[in-house]
Amino acid sequence: MLESLRARLLLWYTSILVLVILAFGGAVCYLFWRSMLTGLDEDLRQQAQAIAGALRPGAADTFDLDLPEELMRSFQGDSRQYYVIWNAGGDLVDRSDPDVDVPVLEAAVSRSRTGVREVTVRAGGGATVLVGQETSELRRDVWVLGGTVAGAAVVALGLSLVGGWFLARRALAPIVRISRTAKAMSQGDLSARIAIDRTETELGQVALALNQAFDRLHDSLDRQRRFTADASHELRTPLSTLSLVVEWALARDRGAAEYRETLDTCQRAATRMRAVIEGLLTLARADAGEPVLRRVPVSLDQVAHEVVTLLRPLAERRKVDLTVSGAGAEVAGDPDLLRDVVTNLVSNAIHYNREEGRVEIAVWKEEPSACLQVADTGIGISSEDLPRVFERFYRADKARARDAGGAGLGLAVTRWIVESHGGQITCTSEVGVGTRFLVRLPLKAVAGPVQP
């Protein structure tokens, strides 16, 4: 029971409440008692003064007492008041009742003895007048007060316990909800989210933050699942071509030409699979956060020219015009990877183009970046596909890229390369008009290259 936050909360503040009530009640009772006593003392003193006034010293240590009628009466019956008078030597001079037996008390003090309160005053002739009163009634009054306070305290306690229990439950219910949802989430229900009433409260903020974390987790797990599904699909297709063509070739005796054709098909399939696997490995490395890469001076325009030379035959085959322009953009990075970036962009531009189309590559310097742009007059990318174009395995036109030998990984890898060089890549496009990819990389600092 004590483990429960609710129970502990309740226990704590109930204990404090009890203490406060007891302290308060105790103080009230004490103050009441003291004020009663003070009143009583005053009363008794007045009586004593009256008696002292009525006392006249006689001859040889004797006294005459001439008490008025009402004064006399206050000591009679069941008044519980009494008086005692001593002379200077402490001998009894007079008392209100023969039963009264009081130890001597010096003058001008007040004292309490068991069940009584006594006050003395000095009187003429060295006598001491003492007036006392039984305090049983007074005591009873105080007890009644105390009892009332205690009773009220119990009621208050009861109410606060009950009320507190419900209040605590209401206040802590969100925590229970949060922990339940978190447990569901960790046990595999990826869609579990905390229902939030209000986000301004502290718990609301916690719930909001947790929901966002769950969303991110769900997203990344989804992406992983898609990735694995896509990857296996991408590998299965060339694999099935391979196994099919081999099975066909072995089904009966064939001529050399057919065997050669079969082997060509096998090679193409193997190349496809290699491309997919390499792309996957690169991305896996990217995911593992492996640090980059060589950093040597690389001239972007030189890389662009190399790529154009490499891809010109392809462009000619597809009747696409390929131009490159610009100069003076030097960056620090890995020349092979950067060449891969340009190759990927340019070959996409060629493949997704129309006949008699154009591909224009431009390189320039725009402080603090080096810019490279590949623009084509191709089929374009729709606005729904555009944000997803850098996703792994995403292909806007599902099988076109297969002819290009790609597996949909090209742009994802390209983006990773650009970003690990500290740059960024953006894409704009219009369906039927063309597409433009812009790569920005930090210009190489004037100080020499940084060796790894």
Binding site: A229, L244, T265
Partner: protein, 218 residues
């Protein structure tokens, strides 16, 4: 029997065509969804082999369109995607069977034959026509005890008529089911095949309906 292969992976499509033609099928190939839709609606195939991931129009939407058009052609799905929901969706949309890539060629052939059998309402791989027995799995014909030699085309004509026994088959239908779109054929080629069949299997097997076509009696 005439098949349509819908597959965008060129090497795979080409290999399938070669393999199926060796099994005496007439094969047309469509490399994208739009082309496939056109072919499917124009021609009555005996079976369609359909890849789900296609450019321009994916396999599911093709299936849907095919069934909406009321075509009862049996469809075998080929897919590399092993997500159950995708196959279920295809089957629910009207596909008859599926095969995961990579697959064994022999299995593909057997499943295609099974689909065609089922579509013709005769689940047995062996067809008996009087004293003529056709083993459609092995593609062998025998008359009584003797095995009969038929050319590929002759066998195809015979199987077609046998599968549609009791119904009239026009010459046009025979053309469509024996030849693929790339082949040229002589207008009397069908008659030539039918005469050969009569010679080899008996003159009572295939009846002529003048001006209309041929029929094997049930």
């Amino acid at each position: 029997m005439r098949l349509l292969v819908v597959e965008d992976e060129v090497d795979l499509a080409r290999t399938l065509r070669k393999a199926l033609e060796e099994e005496q099928f007439a094969v047309d190939v469509a490399l994208d969804g739009d082309e496939a839709l056109f072919q499917m609606t124009e021609i009555s195939y005996d079976a369609i082999i359909l890849d789900l991931m296609l450019p321009r129009r994916d396999g599911w939407s093709l299936l849907h369109a095919l069934r909406q058009a009321g075509k009862r052609t049996p469809v075998l799905i080929l897919t590399a995607r092993d997500a159950v929901e995708e196959r279920v969706r295809a089957l629910d949309l009207g596909a008859d069977d599926y095969l995961l890539k990579p697959f064994a060629l022999t299995e593909l052939l057997a499943r295609v034959r099974a689909l065609i059998r089922r579509a013709s309402g005769d689940p047995s791989p062996t067809v008996m026509l009087g004293d003529v027995t056709i083993d459609t799995a092995a593609r062998r014909v025998s008359r009584g005890e003797n095995a009969i030699d038929l050319t590929a085309r002759e066998y195809a004509v015979l199987e077609l008529l046998a599968r549609r026994r009791g119904t009239l088959v026009t010459r046009t239908m025979i053309w469509e089911h024996i030849y693929d779109e790339a082949e040229e054929h002589l207008s009397n080629a069908v008659d030539v095949h039918v005469s050969a069949l009569r010679r080899k299997l008996g003159h009572d097997l295939i009846l002529t309906r003048r001006g209309q076509g041929y029929i094997i009696d049930a």
